[in-house]
């Protein structure tokens, strides 16, 4: 059972909201800085931006949590965390932590929480972040709210109000964690704004040991096969995305989407039915159970704009919608719309872009 529908019937108002005095000692907002193989996932910086706002509302410090192998990359992640808004960094550096493994990272993070007692702990909703968050919350026996789209503080009792889509995005619900600390939440990449980096910001680093040695850990990493970035779609961070839905009718018609994407240097996206039909790879799915994107330009062809898709792409700057049905919900939130057959409009659009861009290149 999820934390969404069942609890709806009993609103929090019926339960006492005063915090147990034992838990009042928990202070501060933490963001887990996701360092994997030397690089920090950008969602961590987005979360530091959001964490900064929450920490300021509460009047507490913002801490970054860096877990990884000893070395310059790990130190660098700490400095970067300060540049993106952290006041201080908690660091666990140990050779055992050179690869992400659930057991060792859960140990490192739960020990830190128990030692320093933050009131809020935020993680990115990535494969690593979700794996870790679920384990840490269970070990600490506290509440965890997944895939939040909005975070706020209820100033009356200093509690975190975490808003997330429910029923596939048809409704939003705000979730609070009563009488358990820390209050944990995950947020998907690209949901929050990227904060400005300020290289003059500095802070202190508090280092803690990992109370675990290699022989304690059952799971071993035999190999790491990095993705070939050229083959791997990078939808969340793409500037331009051309997406197709069921209205493309047949798998072969999807070539028209690829043609337009090529002219624009864009990524190709899709809706869940299209992915389930096997027309494109699952990595290209945009929406509630796929990726959240916020490109400068999103072109939606043959997409009706069901809420499950909408929640993943409505933050796009400009949305162009092509659909045969003038009443399709996509026209309610797109910037520009063409009512027509995508199979005819797409090739025309590809040609029009090709010509106008060629003119610009000549002129420039």
């Amino acid at each position: 059972m999820s934390d969404a529908p069942q609890a709806v019937k009993k609103p929090a108002g019926r339960r006492k909201l005063e915090l147990d005095p034992r838990l009042a000692a928990y202070k501060g907002v933490w963001v887990f800085v996701e360092l994997e193989r030397g690089a920090v996932h950008p969602v961590s910086w987005e979360l530091l931006g959001e964490g900064r706002r929450l920490a300021d509302m509460l009047g507490v410090e913002l801490g970054g949590v860096v877990i990884g192998p000893p070395g310059e990359e790990t130190r660098h992640a700490c400095r970067d965390a300060m540049h993106y808004g952290a006041d201080l960094c908690y660091l666990v550096a140990d050779a055992v932590l050179s690869n992400y493994r659930n057991e060792s990272y859960t140990k490192a993070l739960t020990d830190l929480v128990n030692a320093f007692q933050p009131e809020i702990l935020l993680l990115g909703a990535t494969t690593l972040g979700r794996d870790l968050a679920g384990s840490v919350a269970t070990t600490l026996q506290t509440g965890l709210t997944a895939d939040c789209t909005e975070l706020n503080i209820d100033m009356e009792n200093r509690s975190l109000a975490a808003t997330r889509p429910t029923f596939g995005g048809s409704l939003l619900c705000t979730i609070v964690t009563l009488n358990y600390r820390p209050q944990m939440a995950t947020v998907r990449p690209r949901v929050m704004h990227m904060p400005a980096r300020d290289a003059s910001r500095q802070g202190r680093v508090i280092e803690s040991p990992l109370n675990m040695i290699e022989t304690d850990i059952v799971t071993k990493v035999l190999e790491y096969i990095p993705d070939n970035l050229q083959d791997k779609p990078q939808l969340p961070f793409a500037d331009i995305i051309v997406s197709g839905g069921r209205g493309m009718k047949r798998k072969e018609n999807f070539q028209l989407i690829w043609d337009l994407a090529k002219v624009l240097g864009a990524e190709v996206g899709a809706t869940r039915p299209v992915v389930q039909a096997g027309w494109v790879d699952v990595e290209r799915q945009v929406g509630q159970s796929g990726k959240t994107v916020r490109p400068k330009l999103y072109i939606a062809a043959g997409i009706s704009g069901a809420v499950q898709h909408r929640v993943g792409m409505e933050a796009s700057d400009v949305i162009i919608a092509i659909n045969e049905d003038p009443n399709a919900p996509i026209f309610d939130f797109a910037t520009y719309g063409i009512v027509g057959n995508a199979m005819q409009i797409l090739p025309a659009l590809t040609e029009a872009f090709r010509q106008q861009l060629a003119v610009a290149r000549l002129a420039g």
């Binding site: 069942q6 609890a7 193989r37 859960t106 269970t138 965890l144 895939d147 029923f167 071993k220």
Partner: protein, 278 residues
């Protein structure tokens, strides 16, 4: 080999509509299905059974109607099915749910030790991906999430090697049984139910456990009482007031429309031209 597959019955979220006037969920006629992500895990468990023999036990927590999901899952070839259902479970969040499922798995283990537990990577209604990791922690099992391939399984050494999807690549991990696996979509194709299995599934005596039978002594760990998170507010997303500017299509050819649109776009957002050309 004894494998437990946890499944959940969910409303088909692609068919849920919000009433345009009252902004409430229209539940009527929305079919209940097995969470699609659970089917990949079920198929993976069945394939291991095909290769190594053993049993596949289904476990589901939900209302009595969830029996339908279990019978459907039995028809693919699972051996046994347990439904844990109790009013006391109502309002369970992911922490309370993982407690209940873990308790039930401990009960299952009393009859026959469990080597592997499978869950879907997430559900399509809650989308949290938290219950699998929670169950693993509570049972002190090794956790392998987002598994995209099971490479080898050595039943003598009780060792499993899997590929696990990470953000920028694939980890190849080796661990010891018992462990809990959540699978990536697309790892396999669910088989068709055979006629014989369909008949068997329809007649199979389902085990229905209440919280006591599931081994839960302490009712404060389940339901609303056992759930740290509480829904304080449910509301409809703010509808966007501005509708799309429609390009006038009356009697115009696609080429005309396309040129009009592109010109409009670049006039309104000249920066886009730069982003594309760079």
């Amino acid at each position: 080999m004894h494998t437990v597959v946890c499944i959940k019955q969910v409303p088909d979220s692609s068919q849920i509509r919000v009433h345009p006037v009252t902004n409430t969920i229209m539940r009527q006629g929305v079919p209940a299905i097995i969470n699609p992500y659970d089917l990949y895990s079920l198929e993976e468990a069945l394939q291991l059974k095909d290769r190594f023999g053993g049993r596949v036990t289904l476990l589901c927590m939900g209302p009595p109607q969830a029996e339908a999901a279990l019978r459907k899952a039995l028809s693919y070839g699972a051996d046994d099915a347990i439904l844990i259902t109790d009013r006391a479970f109502a309002g369970s969040d992911t922490l309370a749910t993982s407690f209940a499922l873990a308790s039930a798995i401990r009960q299952i283990q009393k009859d026959m030790p469990v080597d592997l537990v499978f869950t879907g990577k997430q559900t399509i209604d809650g989308d949290t991906a938290q219950v699998g990791p929670g169950v693993a922690k509570r049972l002190d099992m090794q956790l392998l999430t987002y598994v995209s391939k099971i490479e080898t399984l050595d039943t003598d050494k009780r060792e499993i090697v899997v590929q696990r999807r990470a953000e920028g690549g694939v980890q190849v991990l080796r661990t010891q049984l018992p462990c809990l696996i959540t699978t990536m979509e697309g790892i396999n194709d669910i088989r068709y139910a055979t006629m014989a299995n369909m008949f068997r599934a329809a007649r199979h005596p389902l085990k229905v456990w209440d919280s006591k039978t599931a081994g839960i002594e302490d009712p404060v760990k389940i339901g609303l009482k056992g759930s740290p998170t509480v829904v304080s507010k449910v509301f409809a997303p703010q509808p966007k007031t501005q509708k799309a500017e429609l390009i006038d299509c009356e009697g115009r050819r696609p080429n005309d429309l396309a040129v009009t649109l592109v010109t409009k776009l670049f006039t309104h957002r000249p920066d886009l031209r730069q982003s594309i050309n760079s």
